[in-house]
């Protein structure tokens, strides 16, 4: 970072266009077609994982009807760049608002997502007057690919956890010439945004998260030791207690990626269908919605093509292993993702009703000491920006209004 200012070459921001070779597309189709399926699960629900019928529908559509070039054209219609920060190429989308005095905003995706999750919010955020807002709601939007994800470089050394990523984001915003900006994220994006707020770089005004890190440490102690919930919890706190308990003890993908990213990586690098199933199996509610897309049931603004754009991006860039390593970094740092953010920086929170942990207002207020905005949205879940882009954009407008 000090190196950046010393060596001008590093500070270069290079335009970037996606261009996947045709043979990679042919090879992907070949692998999907040669898929060797397991037997059907002996249950009638998702209790043993992603269901065979869903994966069959997905594989059929992916191999025969899906068009990656459409996704590529969509990405290439947006201004994309690469710039080297802290030894790593960072890929990002950068869309300036036509309105002057737009508020610069950096949005971080999570896992199993990518920049694909955020494409639908770019228009409402940068061009609010066409999307139910006023000029005063406009944002300049920066959407980076996390290190190890998508078209960003894959870290070749350990240490790229949320703190180091946040440091890179501060450099990125500075390099783009932004002197006042805000940050946003859910999933890993919430940890990165909180880390950025803790570092409080020059220019950062506040953050908004759609996944609140808010469990009090003493409550977390009960969860870790598999003890009953502490006495006196409200209904909302009790529900969050149960949701975090489930997330801690019943989510194999989190434990595997946190301890064995390389082992699961062999699967995710070699079998597209194995990769697609792994990425679908995030949380029960989002899985059920995403699975139904392949049976023809709509899910907010998300389409089958969106899901496969995201999956194909992981496949073509062969980044599922490097992406999984972010969980390992968190485990190594010893942090708990759900623990109270304990943050004094200005922070705004939106709770989406189908998120897998519903942050109670009480715990959220204890975790974010300077809570400038709190709202429970009417619709949306873990992939809120993807699923409810208009509502999500409205939340960001409202959340950051006081910081303009």
């Amino acid at each position: 970072m000090s190196v950046d200012t010393a060596r001008n070459a590093d500070a270069v921001v290079r335009p970037f266009q996606v261009d996947i070779p045709e043979e990679a597309i042919v090879e992907l189709r070949r692998r999907i077609t040669a898929w060797r399926p397991p037997e059907r699960e002996p249950v009638d629900d998702q209790s043993q994982g992603v269901q065979l019928a869903t994966v069959q529908d997905l594989a059929d559509y992916w191999a025969t009807a899906y068009d990656w070039r459409r996704c590529e054209a969509k990405l290439n219609a947006l201004p994309q760049f690469l710039t080297e920060i802290d030894g790593l190429d960072v890929h990002f989308i950068h869309v300036r608002s036509p309105h002057v005095n737009a508020l610069p905003l950096i949005v971080s995706h999570g896992w199993p997502g990518s920049i694909i999750e955020q494409l639908k919010i770019i228009e409402p955020l940068t061009n609010p007057t066409d999307h139910g807002g006023s000029e005063a709601d406009a944002f300049d939007v920066v959407i980076p690919s996390l290190p190890g994800y998508g078209f960003s470089g894959k870290p070749a050394v350990a240490g790229w956890g949320p703190d180091r990523i946040a440091g890179a984001w501060a450099t990125l915003m500075q390099r783009l010439g932004y002197r006042r900006y805000v940050a946003q994220g859910g999933d890993w994006g919430t940890a990165i945004s909180a880390a950025l707020a803790r570092q409080a770089p020059d220019g950062l005004l506040g953050i908004h998260v759609n996944f609140a890190q808010m469990v009090p440490l003493e409550v977390l102690g009960h969860i870790r030791n598999a003890e009953p919930a502490p006495a006196g919890l409200s209904d909302a706190e009790q529900r969050a207690y149960e949701q975090v308990t489930f997330a801690t003890f019943r989510r194999g993908y989190g434990v595997i990626q946190g301890t064995r990213p390389q082992t699961i990586g062999y699967s995710l690098a070699d079998t597209p269908v194995g990769l697609a199933a792994w990425l679908l199996d995030h949380d029960t509610t989002s899985y059920q919605h995403l699975a139904q897309l392949f049976a023809g049931q709509p899910f907010g603004a998300i389409t089958r093509d969106d899901v496969l754009d995201n999956t194909s991006l992981y496949w073509f860039t062969n980044t599922a292993t490097s992406a999984a390593r972010l969980y390992w970094e968190q485990g190594r740092a010893g942090g708990n993702f759900y623990a109270t953010a304990d943050l004094s920086f200005p922070a705004a929170v939106t709770v989406f009703p189908e998120e897998y942990v519903q942050a109670p207002r009480s715990w959220t207020e204890q975790a974010y000491h300077n809570l400038i905005y709190f709202n429970q949205a009417e619709r949306g879940g873990h992939f809120a920006a993807w699923e409810q882009p208009q509502l999500f954009a409205e939340e960001l407008r409202a959340a950051f209004r006081t910081l303009r």
């Binding site: 397991p38 994966v55 194999g252 062999y266 690098a269 070699d270 199996d281 062969n318």
Partner: protein, 399 residues
């Protein structure tokens, strides 16, 4: 045998026959492997190392004889019989010695009957393997439902208890009226369940993994001895960093199943990542060409190839889901005691070295306890001679 009730209880001879196109397909997939980037650490702390798996894949594709599974299994008497709706595959090797003690041995995960092939000789034919005629066993080695050439249960409920019941029926069907049972890993869970069920004819059990401690179902004693403290630390370390495969298979066997059926390298990576000790031993075999004991490249690939060719990665994983479901349904209700005699061998490199005190706390009637000099999680596979000697000694009081 049960020739009088042939229709229901028929036992058919079984031979493995591998289709050439399945072998070609495996070779094709190995040649087309796409690898992830190398791990960022110099050890196994991010999982199976790239150099290990690449060495395995090279040997598998270039030097390994894909028909070894067929040759080795068909050299032994194999059978299938349908029990409780599932076709059970088993090896059945009778001793040339009269008065041999019938013994049913159950493999674990990520194992199969392959891990037990090298104990067949020492157990059934002891006089050729450093033992005496009175050490002889008649040996039954079944494939657990969902594994190898056994059928995949198409309905729920095939938890370890149900498999234990099926094993008692298998021994009854084979005409054995007095027998013993042995197992490690998942095989220890099933054998422990047999001990609790106490079917007629079962004279005793021996296990080499203290399963209830592994599952965390038994509270550790207060004021642990240094030995107990070491075992507790090893257990804590396993739960902290080695538990992912267990949790994934216990909760999402279908999800991981897609990769295990579609990519031989994914399957091999998943199966290699069991416990620290066995991983490093296996890595030595492939990377340095220095196998530990009997854990040779060929033996290891026999097992992985069996999983691949039978397409049982998902169904084997599902046995963990069943185990988890059974445990959840039994929550709060202690299982019946094991009243029959129990033998136990602690192998020093197992996930945790069970102290005698824990074994005696768990089983009221311990007739044999010994700490072996060598061997780890796959004790029968790694040290077949030593393992066989443990079984001879362990069951001697029951002859």
């Amino acid at each position: 045998m049960s020739s009088t009730v042939e229709t229901a209880n028929a036992i058919s001879p079984f031979e493995v026959q591998l289709a050439e196109e399945a072998l070609d397909d495996l070779r094709r997939r190995l040649a087309a492997t796409r690898w992830p980037s190398r791990e960022l650490v110099p050890d196994r702390s991010q999982g199976v190392q790239l150099a290990t798996l690449q060495a395995l894949a090279r040997y598998w594709a270039d030097d390994y004889d894909l028909r070894r599974v067929e040759t080795r299994l068909n050299a032994l008497p194999q059978f299938r019989t349908t029990i409780d709706g599932v076709a059970i595959h088993f090896l059945h090797v009778r001793s040339p010695h009269v008065n041999a003690l019938p013994l049913i041995i159950t493999h674990g995960w990520p194992g199969s009957v392959i891990e037990l092939l090298e104990v067949v000789g020492p157990l059934t034919d002891p006089t050729s393997h450093g033992g005496r005629a009175e050490d002889a066993f008649d040996l039954v080695v079944p494939s657990v439902p969902g594994y190898g050439f056994s059928g995949e249960p198409a309905e729920l409920g095939w938890d370890p208890g149900r498999t234990a019941t099926a094993w008692a029926e298998l021994m009854r069907r084979l005409g054995y009226t007095r027998y013993v049972a042995q197992g490690g890993d998942v095989g220890a869970v099933i054998t422990d369940a047999m001990g609790r069920q106490g079917p007629q004819g079962l004279a005793g059990i021996h296990t080499n993994l203290l399963v209830t401690m592994l599952a965390g179902g038994t509270a550790p004693p207060p004021n642990p001895t240094p030995e107990e403290r070491a075992a507790l630390d090893a257990l804590a370390s396993f739960r902290a960093t080695g538990f992912g495969y267990f949790l994934e298979q216990a909760t999402r066997p279908q999800t991981i199943g897609y990769a295990l059926l579609d990519s031989p390298v994914a399957l091999a990576g998943w199966m290699l990542d069991h416990d620290t000790d066995s991983y490093y031993k296996i890595a030595r075999a492939f990377v340095d060409g220095q196998p530990v004991g009997n854990l040779t490249r060929d033996h290891l690939l026999d097992n992985i190839t069996l999983y691949w060719l039978t397409g049982t990665g998902a169904s084997a994983a599902r046995s963990y889901w069943e185990g988890g479901r059974a445990a959840a349904m039994a929550a709060g209700q202690p299982p019946p005691e094991v009243r029959i005699p129990v033998g136990f061998t602690t192998f020093p490199d197992e996930i945790f070295a069970a102290p005698r005190s824990w074994v005696e706390q768990l089983y009221p009637n311990v007739i044999y306890f010994h700490e072996a000099d060598r061997g780890g999680h796959f004790a029968a596979w790694e040290e077949p001679q030593l393992f066989s000697e443990e079984l001879r000694a362990g069951f001697r009081p029951l002859r």
